[in-house]
Amino acid sequence: MNLVSYEDALASYDPVMGLEVHVELGTKTKMFCGCSTELGAEPNSQVCPTCLGLPGSLPVVNAVGVESAIRIGLALNCEIAEWCRFARKNYFYPDMPKNFQTSQYDEPIAYNGYLDVQLEDGSTFRVEIERAHMEEDTGKSSHVGGATGRIHGATHSLLDYNRAGIPLIEIVTKPIEGAGERAPEVARAYVAELRELIRALGVSEARMDKGQMRCDVNLSLRPNGTETFGTRSETKNVNSLRSVERAARFEIQRHATVLGAGEKIIQETRHFHEDNGTTTSGRIKDNAEDYRYFPEPDLVPVAPSREWVEELRASLPELPRVRRARLQAEWGLSDKDMQAVLNAGAVEPILETIAAGAPADQARKWWLGELARRANETGTELAEQPITPAQVARVCALVAEGKLNDKLARQVIEAVLAGEGEPDEVVAARGLAVVSDDSALGAAVDQVIGENPDVAEKIRGGKVQAVGALVGAVMKATRGQADAAKVKDLILEKLGAA
């Protein structure tokens, strides 16, 4: 089936989205036991009777997990429940030790909030939050012997329960309506803003590539001008900001294609494929799926006192929106320039580069110029470029010291990106250094003047702007290693035009 274009899809249909984001908290221990949450350990080395679901074991709530959930709720402008319970979500899956997930159902810890997100054009879109609740992660299955790593075609599966019981906060939006053609952008901006918020709170690193933050994109279309929601698809575990946007965009086109052909959307979960930007059918999710929720009898209700909640509210850190406004003022940027920094995802790299000793304008110049371009070309996140803020700061320092000029600095950056080592190593290995030896430079200037008598004559006659051609020739002769400003001064001096 050929997909209808995005524009055609939006001409007929109005997208409605729901975003469910799972955040793995960075607590030291699991949600209901004392096992470590450290990533990367030997499989099944961070387990105990409770997180393995052994007969007789019981859960005990991690107080830091509850505190983190409340802080997230407060930062999302939610109401915090005075009294809430955990509930059991019952379903069978081999990597779920108890075959129920201890979660929350109709009594979430936080509910009724919102998050304002900034779009690329600088406008603000309010995403309303339905709820944020606490739950535990499952174990991890790896399917072995098949070609795809999926269960289909595998000969056997391995189970690792290190992840089982790691605290999760699930944040669910209310239906996002009225975003229109900007729906995919809103989805991306929401997840980005949420990620920043979570990091600012210090409750999780929220690394999507490590599965610490996972997004489900629920999407449906309804004919323009109608109210009733269409049937939704649930695209699971979309694991980068870019993918969130692409998945929403693809689903809009796919739904429009199906609906346009007079067919029905099947309510199902779908998998997003990074390689080609499409989704494929997962499991059919008819309404018969019944989790038989009931209040968890092994845990007592959570009843955070109002005093505690207010204490937590008062101790919230500076939130991303406020921080952005502050940085914009500190850096002296226009709205447009700040937006460019945000769109490039350059705030953190710039801050870290400044922290490593670079001036703000220099730091911004590199991350928004050379490096942003490269990120764009390779379709990767800016922060994931193979160069550290400290390395960028070192290049800035070499320029400030007069050891590199702009052009050479660019070469050094490229070499660092190519894996040639630290900036100083690149400079040494490539023999890059500004030619500042006056006699050597003087010789090069004399030679160029000699080779271009016409131009030299013009300059002597007062046409100072013609000096550019001679500077260029000297730079070429010195393979770019001269200080252009100095070359210019030298030429003018020698031709008596200074």
């Binding site: 009777p49 393995l52 679901g53 052994l54 007969p55 007789g56 074991s57 019981l58 859960p59 005990v60 709530v61 059991r88 019952n90 069978f92 081999p94 030790p97 108890k98 075959n99 129920f100 599966s157 189970l159 019944d290 038989r292 929720y293 009931f294 009898p297 092994d298 845990l299 007592v300």
Partner: protein, 497 residues
């Protein structure tokens, strides 16, 4: 020390402490008794001979070194096979856990070991504590030492039978709907369901989490009190554990004075279905309490008639979820894993083969009751009934200190009689279930033999939550008065095995 197995736990501990007998001798005497009679009784699923003797030797060494011994040091105990024991099999009477060796001790197991109690082994039970006769065990039924052709009660029939057969002076049970008290009643022994939350459930394999409560079983009220104090108390590993001092139950057991106490007779626990001899012995016990100086009044708890149906919605609902973990992935039985089947198929085959009929019945019942569209009508309504029952108790306890009733409507029935009639079986817990739903404390102790069948009758005493000491005060006084009247403890009338 001719008959070590007939001693009470208190006397046994005293004798060991005084050096009149060693803990090893006591333990060996009980192991010999088990050897001699347990083929007939089948109280034990697993006898830990080595572990028991090692524990006994440690007690003797401790005494030899001059260390202070606790009030139950060296006393043998029979542990219901529903508590985990590190390195010792734990089956819950189910095929699905056959061969499982837990890697950890239940908190209760740890406390017994810390008290230097000698754990002889694990006792038979209805599978996952679901039943009132021990007939639902996957490993054969247990005989009632008063008449081996009759049931020893359930689910803790093994623990009660071990006491009545003098295989152990102490035992541990769990009471979800009466599984300590009803076996106590039909075997002529003492059983206590402590206040919900006073004995840790960590390591107690769950049947119904909001109802399950471990508790002491013994042949005397004082022995039960000593064991109660050893196992009760706050446990940070159990979130529902009560963080408050344990009531002084040993002191209460020694008072033997009920003068001035107000005792309520629950009107609803009488009438159709109650055996005449049971009611006769119960009425005599009430009269005895009056003679001992208690004030007896009749109280009405109208919601109690709804307790049984509410229980059979709540308990199976929780069980359907608690038992979901038995999926063949990590421990226990695994059926059909021949490389050709998916994990889901292996799970299904294992559960089909590993669970018995009653467990399956309750899983299906509970799954249905929790289903969307039925939740409010079933689970939701049952929780409301639970609230009503608690209110009835609150109203009753506003006027009386304790309530009394027969523990169970009939004496021990013949093995097989109710096996195919779940409803008749469920009626055995009619009088015990309200206390589980309300979470308060209750005891059963022997009050005589029913004239028509010469089988033990149990008197149930119910106290408000965290007033467990009142059970022991009333129970201790009744026990002393009855032993005086009979000239000996009731169990001496049991036939020799």
């Amino acid at each position: 020390m001719t008959d070590l197995i007939k001693l009470t736990a208190a006397d046994t501990a005293a004798a060991i402490k005084a050096g009149q007998v060693s803990a090893v001798e006591v333990t060996q005497a009980h192991l010999d008794r088990i050897d001699a009679v347990d083929k007939k009784v089948n109280a034990f699923l697993h006898v830990d001979t080595e572990g028991a003797l090692a524990a006994a030797r440690a007690v003797d060494a401790k005494r030899a070194a001059g260390s202070e011994l606790g009030p139950l040091a060296g006393v043998p105990l029979a542990l219901k096979d529903v508590f985990t024991t590190k390195g010792v099999p734990t089956t819950c009477g189910s095929k699905i856990l056959e061969g499982w060796i837990p890697p950890y001790d239940a908190t209760l197991t740890t406390r017994l070991k810390d008290a230097d109690v000698v754990i002889l082994g694990k006792t038979n039970m209805d599978e996952f504590a679901m039943g009132s006769s021990t007939e639902n065990s996957a490993f054969g039924t247990t005989g009632n030492p008063w008449d081996l052709s009759r049931i020893p009660g359930g689910s803790g029939g093994g623990s009660a039978a071990a006491l009545a057969a003098f295989e152990a002076p102490l035992a541990i049970g769990t009471d979800t709907g009466g599984s300590i008290r009803q076996p106590g009643a039909v075997t002529g022994t003492v059983g206590v369901k402590p206040t919900y939350g006073s004995v840790s459930r960590y390591g107690l394999v769950a049947f119904s989490s909001s109802l399950d409560q471990g508790g002491p079983c013994a042949r005397t009220v004082l022995d039960a009190a000593l064991l109660h104090e050893a196992i009760a108390g706050h446990d940070p590993l159990d979130s529902t554990s009560i963080n408050a001092p344990v009531p002084a139950v040993v002191e209460a057991a020694k008072m033997r004075d009920v003068r001035g106490m107000r005792i309520g007779v629950v009107k609803e626990f009488a009438g159709e279905g109650y055996q005449a001899g049971v009611m006769q012995r119960f009425d005599e016990a009430v009269e005895l309490l009056r003679e001992l100086g208690a004030e007896v009044v009749e109280v009405s708890c109208p919601s109690f008639t709804l307790a049984l149906p509410a229980y059979y919605l709540i308990a199976p609902s929780e069980a359907s979820s608690n038992l979901a973990r038995f999926d063949a992935m990590r421990y226990g039985l695994r059926v059909g894993d021949d490389g050709s089947r998916s994990a889901e198929e292996v799970t299904a085959l294992t559960r089909e083969a590993g669970f018995g009929a009653e467990v399956k019945r309750r899983i299906i019942l509970g799954t249905y009751a929790l289903s969307s569209g039925y939740y409010d009508a079933y689970y939701g309504s049952a929780q409301k009934v639970r609230t009503l029952i608690s209110r009835d108790f609150d109203a009753a306890f506003a006027g009386v200190d304790v309530l009394v009733s027969p523990t169970t409507p009939t004496t021990a029935f013949p093995i097989g009689e109710r096996a195919d009639d779940p409803m008749a079986m469920y009626l055995a817990d009619l009088c015990t279930i309200p206390s589980n739903l309300a979470g308060n404390a209750a005891m059963s102790l022997p009050c005589g033999l029913a004239p028509e069948d010469n089988l033990p009758v149990g008197l149930q005493i119910i106290a408000p939550a965290m007033a467990d000491d009142r059970l022991y005060r009333v129970g201790g006084a009744v026990e002393a008065a009855l032993n005086d009247k009979w000239g000996h403890p009731l169990l001496e009338e049991a036939p020799a095995l």
